[in-house]
């Protein structure tokens, strides 16, 4: 094969993969999806007995999915530059949840890369395709395909398309607040900004917006935790038949969301620049000492020239990842389900002398009952520690004044009725742990909070 033929073949492959990847944004579909869509979907997924009840519940959809945090600053950044939204990733419901959260926050829609397996459902595929999603085939590992993806993402950012990356990569199997980020296409942020600086447009800023998506119950919890514990997850294969592929489970999930106020909280953090620096309210980068710093200087050489250095840029992206990992716990919203799971797990660990899940899975059912009064007292203590340490996250904003007894009742409803097998059930004055794996999954959301003295084995 001649050099020309090789070049032609290469161009053909790039074109093929480019067309496979490329997405579209149709404003008409966006208008439909953000206007009529939620109402229609809500009616379809309504748990109520009558259409009238369903419509009434939908009027309160805003109360079901809450968007809060540093929204005003993010809005200002969207006017000044391009947003790169970087949420935690627990569920396939994250895409609609963050989409709705962005809309509720008055933030612009974003492009995003979605696993090709998600396009198998024609209904969902239509919306994803026309709402800016581009396809990512995670089975393809070769460099050419990765380069096509990176280039596509870089060009989108250079042209000012707001983007969304899940920096953790795939859904977090264990439900811990993500602390090991794969970063992936997040690295294109530095490349895109460097190109803008080189083209004389350093004022076209890129802003990384950390976001946590916090569910009271997670649609795929059972599959995810099974996968995590079997150690077959961790991206070694792609789950194709989890709860997300079962329409009945999705309907059930929406029913639970609509039946409970604030089931999902989408919390926005203060944006960062591509080098992990925080910013002022006006979008200027601040160094670690709080001084204004020119972000363009990070890609310049000794004489102000823009320099190319892939290793440097990868290190910058790792620094950005470390900042996201620092920020995520503070942005975490803990629902009643997390709090109860944590105190029950602590009690289980205290009785058995270990927090090791594999050991705890062998614990006999007889040792798995905890007095309601003890659980309430432990939740009281946990809430007090949370209030004292904002870096660990916070309680659900709508329920900070709720009594711990009410939290227990609410958590038992969430943990006991949604999943195919209950995690916790109440029997008179005792809480029975029915599924240690699910309990572990929900308590993992608090795993960054150290065990307090007397609250369980370390």
């Amino acid at each position: 094969m001649s050099e020309e033929d090789k070049q032609a073949e290469l161009r053909g492959l790039v074109r093929h993969y480019g067309q496979d990847v490329v997405g579209n944004f149709d404003p008409r579909v966006y208008k439909f999806a953000t206007g009529v869509g939620p109402s229609l979907m809500g009616v379809l997924f309504s748990p109520m007995s009558s259409l009238r009840d369903g419509v009434a519940a939908l009027r309160n959809l805003d109360h079901r999915i809450i968007a809060d945090g540093e929204i005003e600053i993010a809005r200002g950044c969207a006017e000044r530059g391009t947003l790169i939204v970087t949420p935690t990733h627990s569920s396939n419901m994250d895409s609609p949840a963050i989409g709705y959260g962005l809309m509720r926050a008055g933030l612009p829609p974003t492009t995003y890369g979605a696993g090709k397996n998600l396009f198998s459902n024609p209904f969902i595929s239509f919306f994803m395709r026309n709402l800016g999603a581009y396809r990512v085939d995670r089975r393809l590992k070769f460099e050419l395909y990765k380069d096509v993806l990176k280039e596509y993402s870089t060009v989108l950012l250079e042209h000012g398309y707001h983007s969304l990356f899940f920096p953790g990569g795939t859904r977090c199997r264990s439900n811990v607040v993500e602390n090991h980020l794969k970063l992936g296409l997040l690295g294109t942020t530095v490349t895109a900004y460097k190109n803008l600086v080189r083209e004389g447009m350093p004022h076209k800023r890129l802003y990384i917006v950390p976001v946590t998506i916090n569910y009271r119950v997670v649609l795929e919890a059972e599959t995810l935790i099974d996968d995590y514990l079997a150690e077959t997850g961790k991206s070694r294969y792609i789950i194709t038949d989890d709860e997300f592929s079962r329409v009945g489970r999705i309907v059930e999930f929406f029913r639970k969301i609509l039946a409970h106020e604030g089931s999902v909280v989408v919390r926005f953090g203060r944006p960062l620049d591509p080098f992990g620096n925080t910013i002022t309210d006006d979008g200027e980068s601040l160094d670690r000492a709080g001084r204004v710093v020119d972000p363009a200087s990070f890609v310049r050489g000794a004489d102000g020239e823009v320099t190319d250095d892939d290793q440097r840029d990868a290190e910058y992206t790792r620094a950005l990842g470390r900042r996201l990992v620092e920020v995520f716990p503070r942005l975490t919203v803990l629902h009643s389900t997390h709090l109860l799971a944590r105190v029950l797990y602590d009690e289980l660990a205290r009785r058995t002398g270990t927090r090791d899940i594999y050991h705890l899975l062998r614990v006999a059912p007889a040792s798995c009952a905890v007095g309601v009064a003890d659980a309430i007292a432990a939740i009281d203590r946990l809430r007090a520690r949370l209030r004292d340490t904002p870096a660990w996250g916070s309680e659900h904003p709508a329920y900070t004044s709720q009594s711990s007894a009410a939290k227990v009742d609410d958590a038992v409803r969430g943990l006991g009725t949604y999943h195919t097998r209950p995690a916790v059930l109440r029997q008179d004055d005792a809480l029975r742990i029915e599924d240690v794996k699910l309990l572990y999954y929900y308590q993992n959301r608090t795993a960054h909070i150290p065990v307090a003295g007397g609250d369980g084995a370390r």
Partner: protein, 326 residues
Amino acid sequence: MSRADTIGIAGAGRFGTALGSVLARAGRRVVVWSRDTAVVDAIQTQRTCPRLPIATLPPPLEATADPRRLAGEARLVVLAVTSADVRDRAHEIGQFLDGSHIVVHAVGALAAPSNERVSEVIEQGLPTLKLGVIAGPALPGDLAAGQFSSMVVASAFDEVVAETRRLINAPPALRVYGSKDLAGVELASALSGAYTVALGLCDGLGMGPGPRAVLITRAIAEASRLGIASGAESRTFAGLAGLGNLLVRASERSADYVLGRRLSEGVVTADTGRTEGARAALAGVELANKLRVRVPVLAGLAAVLAGRAEPRDAAQLIGDSVADVE
């Protein structure tokens, strides 16, 4: 010479002055920043520094009391100050640096008073992320006298290593090697101070070359274990920053070594005589406990420093404990 080819040195102490001397003698342009205007005047007018009078400072080297000039004229800045000052000096020059600068520190200890690695401390005061460390058995007197010296520069950024080597490598007086193991070089350099105290103690007790060799060997082995548990590379501890530093510091010129000798005589109590090496020993034990690594040498030294053990008993305990685990 351009900004890219100029070396900035923050601090006109013994090491900073000696490094500047080597580089200026090799024809490199050097800007030394000192807060002490008397030192700046002495360098500019008499071509000598009162803190290291034996060093000759030829004209390619200039001194300034203005940190803005340091930042403006050099992209690479070597932070050559004490562990007690490093936080404040980084913050001070950080006002005038930006993201394009490269900062390499030459502090062979943990930062006081928090006992963090120095790079972790200075990154809070500097705008640039391109940080590194330079360490190794290069004594100021040897550098000033043009003796053969070697150091290692380490950074997560290849550019930091490459640029530091390009600008500071000045054979035969100073050879600079490269590493990616920033944490390892910092830890090895700091712990070698602790083991220098132990060597002083060993020598003060009159132990012979056999026990002395065992102590050095065991010290490097346990530092490696601690390093691996901290995410560093084992081989770093047997290199210039670890073994090299330990061997060069074991003399009466080192405050850590002198402290060890005084401990052997029972002169120092728990409340006095804290050196950088002594602090590193206590911090090392704390880190080892956290990471569940056994460090008999550091633990024995810490016991003596805290007044919980007599020097000779500690030496016996260290020997027994090492024999148990290795």
